[in-house]
Symmetry: C2
Subunit: 197 residues, 2 copies
DNA sequence: TTCAACATATATCAAGTCGATATATGTGAA
DNA sequence: TTCACATATATCGACTTGATATATGTTGAA
């Protein structure tokens, strides 16, 4: 979804500055499935302003730098709905964790263990944050989002915890790279895995 | 992860052309957690070539356009390992499905039902494709990747199937937008939801 | 107390990436 | 036959990211 629509979506929840819109993607409700940087938010707000989809009020006072508060117009609301009605593009998921895990055999075992442990902590923290809010208080659509997301994290955590020990034991038993710094042994290991599909 | 490393990773599995590398991200093993386009793959292969991390063999014959087959060098293998050892960046997940679902109350009910049904089919198809291969045949790292990914898809599917009817019933019962095309009714609906957190 | 780290707030820029498009040919199905 | 699709490389405009610049307030630890 383009950043312009993303901004409209945040502003639909209430007026906000560019800085606050960024926070919605960093810590807020949208943080799990959308993102945008300042470099795209500020230009987007400029365009939305000139097209009349948002209105900007300059808050010159404050003890901070000027704050530009943006507010959705009726035209902006219409544009948001229209965008929501267009067929959604496929999900995009990129993960270095999965990528590194894929090549676990090539890495020192302690490194792999650390990777998995960090992942477990990562899931635990997200789950804790997500379970502090009461789902019953959410509107229907948001509640399904929340429930589906939480399910994914909980089951990922459970899977990792259930398989961690077996996984590590298997890695330990099958190669020598982890206990030796002999380059020849190393090389042999790499060659061994080379053509496994 | 930068596209250069991604190319090295694909080439680690065996030599390939730019076109074939693209396919690895589109249909192959990496398709679930990494992506790259021609616009980034071809320049990356050029740089990798000039840096000696890959070797290029021009296959001039064939009945097709020239095929440039790239092969990993020792230096390229070392570079891949080094990249795998650097701390992984956080996952990135963007989903229009979640985004639209979040605003389900604002949309016509048939549209929302279609969205959920398509999602269910999407999960079913992926699960079917992933369960055709035998996980026991995979190297340890790949097997954990595969298992974790499959778990996510299976549990997402189960959650949607379990909650679909209740979700739709709830949407149907709470608003009028879905059965009326009266713009005033429409507007009222939008205002009603306006400030729900 | 002081001082570093962090938060608020806007904005820009180089580098990288995507999605579409161009080019050229082969294959298979309707 | 003709059209859609697959193979194959390559480029380009538009967009996005991540880092950085600028300026100030707050907070907590040494």
């Amino acid at each position: 979804m383009d950043v312009r629509t993303l901004c409209l979506a945040v502003l639909y929840q209430g007026e906000a500055s560019g800085y606050e819109i960024k926070k919605a993607f960093q810590e807020g409700a949208f943080s799990h499935f959308q993102d945008a940087s300042f470099g795209s938010i500020y230009p987007a707000l400029g365009r939305l302003s000139s097209e009349g989809l948002v209105e900007c009020t300059q808050m010159a006072q404050e003890k901070r730098p000027d704050k530009k508060v943006y507010k959705l117009t009726q035209s902006g609301e219409d544009s948001l709905i229209t965008s929501l009605l267009t067929p959604p593009t496929p999900d995009k998921f990129t993960s270095d964790f999965f990528f590194v895990l894929y090549f676990a055999e090539l890495l020192p075992l302690p490194q792999v263990i650390k990777l998995v442990d960090q992942r477990i902590s990562f899931y635990q923290e997200i789950i804790e944050r997500m379970t502090t809010c009461d789902p019953a208080a959410l509107p229907t659509g948001r509640r399904l989002c929340h429930g589906l997301g939480l399910t994914v994290y909980q089951n990922s955590l459970a899977y990792l915890e259930e398989n961690k020990e077996r996984f590590i034991a298997e890695l330990r038993s099958q190669n020598t790279i982890h206990t030796s710094s002999d380059p020849d042994t190393n090389r042999t290991q790499i060659e061994t895995n080379r053509h496994i599909s």
